[in-house]
Amino acid sequence: MKDIFEHLNNLKLDDEDFKEMEVSEVEKARVKAKLKQSIDKKQSHKMRKQSTRKKWGYGIGAAVLAFGLLVASATVSPTMAQVVSSIPLIGQIYKNLGDIGLKNVSEAGLSEFSGESKTINEITITLGEIYYDDARVTASFSVDSEKPITSDYFNIKHNYKGGMPLSNYGITTDESSPTNWTGILNINYSSFNPDTLELGITFEGKQGELFEFKKEVVKAEYDNKIDIAKSQQIENLKYEIHDIKWGTPGILISYDAQYKEENYGRGVILEFEVVDSSNKRLKEISGKYGKQLFEPLENDVTELTITPYAKFDIQRGDGHIEWKEHELEPFKITIP
């Protein structure tokens, strides 16, 4: 079936409806830089795939040996056979391939599990763990194929009841075996944030295979939350940090930030530096406008020092671009 972009080829709409706007060279450069960043991000996934392939080469060898021993034991031990049959390889992807937040979520049993499999043209795709919270949605999957294929074979998309909410998304894969590999789809919705998500994922193969999955997943809540309601205005930048949540998946800071002049306005993405009471700077796991997620807290942390930064450019009607950079007021929160 043709997709919408092929259908749009047929439409030759009246040019009068489409007016150009003035664009400066700096604005063009900014758009190109953003695009490059998005494309490079995808390519870096490929690089990561290659490096994990090397690292996992040894791991797989050991796993195969261990698995062989297990199967051998199973032939003589019914108890061991039961253990073998229950090995949830598809349920291990978060632990093997995910960031620290996903590892924690998986170990704590907070992710939901699908297990749905589809086979077309001797390719089987199985949906594994799915996790959804205020910061992001992630879904693990495995691909088993008679012929060697890479992730480039598929056009992978997500949807909500057929439409794709505005988002950034990408995949992380471990393709150590070309016939049996795993991946995690990471989605950061821009503003879409339902309590229950009917997540659709499609894998469109180059030979026209279409693997469609659907899984309803309930938004997970963080264990702890502190309302901050900290606001500050510096020149024309106004921001408010709403709250900080933390728990198994990490620590999540929620905010709004707007730059507004009389005839100009834009949303601003803030970057936070979070340092814990042992002077450890927490690593970012994911970010988008209004949310930034950091690695989970250690058990003995009693206090966090948080410094927000705003780095953005503004462009007025005459095309003039001005770079703005502010280190905003740091603040501390006590972890009970």
Binding site: H7, L8, E20, K36, I39, N159, G162, Y289
Partner: protein
């Protein structure tokens, strides 16, 4: 080799980044104009920036689905941009959907709000599947109406039919979709919203 007006489409299809840069240089004013017109009422300039980025990433990822020459590319880009901007607007506006449930909803001629009907961003793929059997002209009308948020007058002007003829085709198309939905037992495929 660098991209030029003569080779940038081929290079874009081969995923050459300089072709995307060429497209930004040449078409950003147009993409910005279309995006701004649709999204400016929301008063969120960040959304315009996000949508522009999304449009260029879309043509990067879907370049192979484009067919035609440079003139056709401009037209395709305009339609893709409008489609993305409408989609962004609908999501940002968190519009409420209403499923067609009764035959009265199909009565194009008598519904006072029919010109304001829009398809919510959900279920596009299902709708496209159902439209596979449509004549090309009817499919184009449906895409203009439900995906590009165009009025019947605008559609009529673009395809050289009268408004009554467009309304009539929409009426018949919707009736057919409803019938197909009943036959296929695919409840909840076509959603409409009344403003």
């Amino acid at each position: 080799m660098r991209s030029t007006a003569h080779n940038f489409i081929k290079r874009l299809k081969r995923q050459k980044e300089d072709a995307l840069e060429y497209a930004v240089d040449k078409y950003l004013p147009l993409v910005k104009g279309i995006t701004y017109k649709v999204l400016s009422p929301l008063g969120n300039p960040g959304l315009v920036d996000e949508c522009i980025n999304d449009v260029f990433l879309t043509i990067w990822h879907h370049a192979n689905q484009f067919e035609g020459d440079t003139d056709d590319f401009r037209k395709w880009l305009c339609v893709v941009t409008k489609f993305k901007a409408i989609d962004t607007y609908r999501i940002a506006n968190k519009r409420v959907e209403v499923e067609i449930v009764g035959t009265n909803d199909l009565d194009v001629g008598s519904s006072p709000s029919v010109e304001n009907e829009v398809l919510v961003t959900e279920n596009k793929n299902e709708l496209l599947k159902l439209m596979c059997g449509f004549e090309v002209i009817d499919r184009d009308i449906f895409i203009m109406k439900f995906f590009l948020d165009m009025t019947s007058e605008e559609i009529a002007k673009n395809i050289g039919l009268t408004k009554a003829a467009v309304d009539n085709r929409i009426y018949r198309g919707k009736k057919r979709l409803k019938q197909q939905r009943t036959n296929n037992n695919l409840g909840g495929i076509l959603h409409e919203r009344y403003l």
